[in-house]
């Protein structure tokens, strides 16, 4: 009885000592996968809880076109991941997104073709698959720079368009579809690949975004989320196997079929893309003004942006 009373007293003390849990909803821009391992780790390891946050993770699911961007626009979600260019486009359209953490430091967009494409003109007139929900803007810049006319084939599902030969080429990310292609075909010749980062288009990609208003109203909460998320990524980098298991559990919870091998390779690639090429470490450095300005110019030239996005307003 004495022991029971002691335990009850300890529990009461523990609950009393916890800060009040602030609810925050978070949605990555794609299906559950190790692309977002750091967030899953932060949730699983209690980093968010330690910051006093009750994080609810939602996901873009299946064939639904309700993307994270749509959800945050409709104020159905507090914080999302998306790519820098996507965020700039949205901001250009009027949704004032604020970058609170830049996780990606290197661009991972690629194009896998059925023929050699080291000469960009090889893609002229080709049928190229790209995500229906977006993400291919760097390739748009590439096409604009090289004056290419591409027949875009929008798709939702994975790589079967390419495997079946229904398209000449497929846009893919080095940490996702490209790895799926490798595991589906046994490998693609290097000269069939275009890595856009090698063509002066090395613009960083994934980052954490909130609306300007949300940031203004919940700066401290957002900062806590960012701190815990960075801890999550740092932990995942040091404990890859554990991070992989946590991610697989998340995918299982969302009933996403996958391959452990694919997720393992994806985590390695995502972590590689997080390494700052200037400093050589994963320092989550904000997008530099120079890169931001260059991107502003390129996107406006390609007609993707209509106005200049202000660095100070977007990058925090």
């Amino acid at each position: 009885m004495k022991r029971l009373l002691t335990a009850a007293a300890f529990l009461l003390f523990a609950f009393a000592s916890l800060p009040a849990q602030e609810v925050i909803t978070f949605m990555p821009q794609w299906l559950p996968q190790t692309q977002f391992a750091g967030y899953y780790v932060a949730l699983e390891k209690g980093f968010y809880a330690e910051e006093g946050l009750d994080v609810i993770i939602d996901h873009f699911g299946g064939s639904s076109t309700e993307t994270a961007l749509a959800k945050i626009e409709h104020r159905q979600i507090d914080i999302i991941t998306t790519q820098l260019i996507s965020a700039m486009i949205e901001r250009d359209k009027g949704m004032r997104l604020v970058n609170v953490l830049q996780t990606s430091q290197v661009n991972g967009l690629m194009c896998a073709a059925h023929f050699p494409v080291k000469d960009p003109q090889a893609l002229n007139g080709a049928r190229v698959g790209r995500w229906k929900v977006g993400f291919g803007e760097v390739c748009d810049l590439f096409c604009y720079k090289n004056q290419l006319q591409v027949n875009w084939i929008p798709y939702i599902q994975g790589i079967n368009l390419y495997v079946a030969g229904a398209v000449d080429a497929l846009l893919c990310y080095s940490y996702s579809e490209y790895l799926q292609l490798v595991l589906a075909t046994g490998g693609i010749p290097e000269d069939y690949l275009i890595r856009f980062s090698e063509f002066g288009l090395d613009f960083p990609e994934d980052g954490l975004y909130v609306t300007e208003k949300y940031y203004k109203d919940n700066k401290e909460k957002v900062d806590k989320f960012v701190r815990a998320s960075r801890r999550g990524w740092d932990y995942a980098r040091e404990h890859r196997e554990e991070a992989l298991e946590i991610s697989l559990k998340m995918m299982n919870d969302f009933n996403v079929a996958t391959s452990r091998k694919l997720q393992e390779m994806m985590l390695d690639e995502v972590l590689r893309l997080q390494v700052n090429p200037v400093t050589g470490v994963a320092d989550f450095a904000p997008v530099s003004r120079g890169v931001f300005d260059a991107l502003n110019v390129s996107l406006q030239e390609a007609g993707i942006l209509k106005s200049t996005i202000q660095y100070e307003e977007m990058i925090r």
């Binding site: 939702i156 994975g158 368009l161 229904a166 595991l183 075909t185 046994g186 079929a257 091998k261």
Partner: protein, 632 residues
């Protein structure tokens, strides 16, 4: 079991070793040959399974394809009738047990201006009832899905890669999609039929040529359509598995399968020697059957184990049978051995067992029997001979005693003289003799040596001694005594035996001594001063050789204290084992070392001992006679 002692065991073991060696050699050759054959047969068998399975799955695929293809024209002719379109999809599902869903999906905006129009009939997961719905909507944007988009882009029928259809049937499915084209050849929609992968998995998993064989199917994107590990279906590709295998063959097989190739490759699956036969399916998929050589050879191993155990038991049986048979065959040898041992122990009447065969054992038995009879005969002869020898020996002993009794043993006991003599025959009886007779103050004495040894010499000695006794008593001069004795001995001496002798007569008062030497060794004269020399005497001839030989005697005057040592050639010709003789020189040397006061008895014993010491145990080769006469 003491192998060294058991002939049957050793021979059986020898036979066993040869038989084992032969069997082992045959087994190795058979194993090598059968191993190669079994591998080939197993590969052929697996290939046949694969071909038959591919044929079966292709029949299903063809049925599905026909179910859709055959209704193409019906749909195109009834585009305006929505209910009919639904009915078509229902008919397709109802008429084909392999089909769980069917759709007629139109291009956005084609069907009566609708963005989405896709009549779809399917069998519900839970209820197993046939249901019909309109498939397309904003959340299920089918024009961007593989089953619609790929055949549209390809412009030809397409079997989709497996997918989880949560927009319709809620099952893991693959869809056969056939483009619907209008009269201008423009694609207006896609007509589909879905098959359940769960059914496919069950069927594929039943294909097992061997106990641990498993069959897999992969799509064009390498993902498993069917695999014994259901968690791999849709989740893994053949390359995700192959990447974790140290053997790169699996990776290459994956590429071959995706390339639609047919083949067979041997590889290591988790350290187990395996092979996979694979071949393409008409819809672009590929099927492979993995087989473990361990399975294939398990029955062979069981058979081999049975064979080995049988052989071992057979060899043990053969060993025991061999040993028993050899024991039985060689039993007469054992019995012969026992008989031989009994005979060797002295039982010469021991039974030698009979043998019924006419082989070497029969010869051995006859030899033993002959040997036994020969031994018995020999023993009989030996007994006779032994008895005869014993009798002869006994007679010889008697003869020896008689001969010895002929020689006087009572030596004169006088103050002025010391006489002693001894004879040591080389055999039971000998031919040496000595004698002495005292007549007043005269002492007649002699030493003789008959030619030869043994009984003839002893008899001749007895004649010679009797002759001297008789003739010596006549008081004749010494030369006459010897002449008469010679004549007596020559008479009837057909064996031409003879006797050398030295006879003398010493006047114990004066010291004058008359002597006659008949071919005998010169006697030793030891003066009072101890000086020794041989007494010079005319040699004459040995008595018994020439009747009437004119023997001459001689005379010498002795000083008191002179010692005469008479002897036969048994002394000077006594030999050591190295054939070196005692010799006269040693005799003189002994004489020179003799104390003049030594009694004759002691002197004789001392000389005899000196000679024996010289011969050092060598056999005595001649009779030895020594006489010492000391005139004081």
């Amino acid at each position: 079991m003491n192998w060294q002692k058991s002939f049957s065991s050793r021979l059986s073991l020898f036979v066993l070793l040869i038989a084992s060696g032969l069997m082992l050699g045959v087994a190795i050759l058979l194993g090598l040959f059968s191993s190669s054959s079994i591998r080939q047969v197993s590969r052929n068998m697996a290939q046949q399974h694969l071909n038959r399975s591919i044929l079966e799955i292709e029949q299903v695929i063809t049925e599905v394809e026909r179910a859709v293809d055959n209704l193409d024209w019906v749909v195109l002719q009834n585009l305006d009738d929505e209910k009919f379109l639904y009915q078509v999809t229902r008919e397709i599902v109802q008429a084909n047990p392999n089909i769980v869903g069917s759709a007629i999906a139109f291009e956005p905006g084609y069907y009566k201006g609708r963005k989405y129009f896709s009549p779809y009939s399917y069998i519900g997961d839970q209820t197993h009832e046939l249901r019909s719905i309109q498939l397309g909507n904003e959340d299920y944007d089918y024009p961007t899905l593989d089953w619609y988009q790929i055949p549209k882009l390809l412009g030809k029928p397409y079997w989709s890669e497996p997918y989880y259809d949560d927009g319709g049937g809620g099952q893991r499915m693959s869809t056969y999609s056939m483009p619907l084209k209008d009269e201008d050849g423009k694609i207006i929609g896609i007509m589909t039929a879905d098959i359940s992968l769960d059914w496919l998995s069950d069927w594929v998993n039943s294909i097992r040529p061997y106990r641990n064989s498993f069959t897999m199917m992969i799509g064009r994107n390498g993902s498993f359509i069917a695999h014994p590990d259901s968690t791999k279906v849709l989740n893994e590709t053949i390359f995700t598995v192959a990447m974790d295998l140290p053997d790169t063959t699996a990776f290459q097989m994956g590429k071959d399968m995706l390339a639609g190739k047919r083949g067979m490759q041997r590889f290591s699956l988790n350290g187990k020697d395996s092979f996979m036969v694979y071949g393409p399916i008409s819809n672009g998929w590929s099927m492979g059957i993995v087989n473990l050589y361990g399975d294939i050879f398990s029955s062979v191993r069981r058979f081999n184990m049975f064979l080995v155990i049988t052989l071992l038991l057979g060899l043990i049986g053969m060993f025991i049978g061999c040993r028993n048979m050899i024991r039985r065959l060689t039993m007469p040898i054992v019995e012969f051995t026992n008989s031989a041992m009994t005979i060797a122990k002295g039982n010469f009447q021991a039974m030698i067992p009979e043998v019924e065969t006419q082989d070497e054992l029969k010869k051995l038995r006859d030899s033993l029997d002959y040997m036994q009879r020969s031994i018995n005969e020999y023993i009989g002869e030996l007994k006779t001979t032994t008895a005869s020898n014993e009798r002869y020996e006994s007679e010889l002993n008697i003869a020896r005693e008689i001969q010895m009794s002929m020689l006087p043993q009572n030596f004169p006991q006088r103050e002025d003289c010391s006489l002693f003599a001894m004879v040591q025959p080389a055999k039971e009886v000998g031919g040496d003799l000595y004698d002495f007779v005292g007549v007043g103050d005269s002492l007649f004495f002699l030493v003789g040596d008959v030619s030869g040894k043994g009984v003839p010499a002893a008899l001749f000695m007895a004649i010679a001694r009797a002759a001297f006794r008789f003739i010596g008593a006549l008081g004749l001069p010494m030369r006459e005594v010897v002449r008469r004795v010679n004549d007596c001995l020559c008479d009837g001496n057909t064996n031409e035996m003879f006797v050398t002798l030295f006879a003398a007569c010493l006047d114990l008062k004066t010291g004058d001594m008359v002597y006659c030497n008949a071919g005998h060794n010169p006697i030793v004269l030891i003066g009072p001063d101890g000086k020794s020399s041989f007494l010079q005497a005319k040699p004459n001839l040995a008595a018994g050789l020439f009747e009437g030989f004119p023997y001459e005697d001689e005379q010498i005057h002795l000083e008191r204290g002179t010692r005469l040592v008479l002897y036969t050639d048994g002394v000077t010709e006594a030999e050591r084992s190295d054939k070196v003789q005692y010799g006269e020189e040693k005799l003189l040397k002994w004489a020179a070392g003799l104390n003049p006061l030594t009694s004759s008895h002691a002197a004789v014993q001392d000389l005899f001992a000196h000679v024996k010491k010289f011969t050092a145990g060598a056999d005595q080769n001649d009779d030895i006679t020594i006489m010492s006469l000391l005139w004081k």
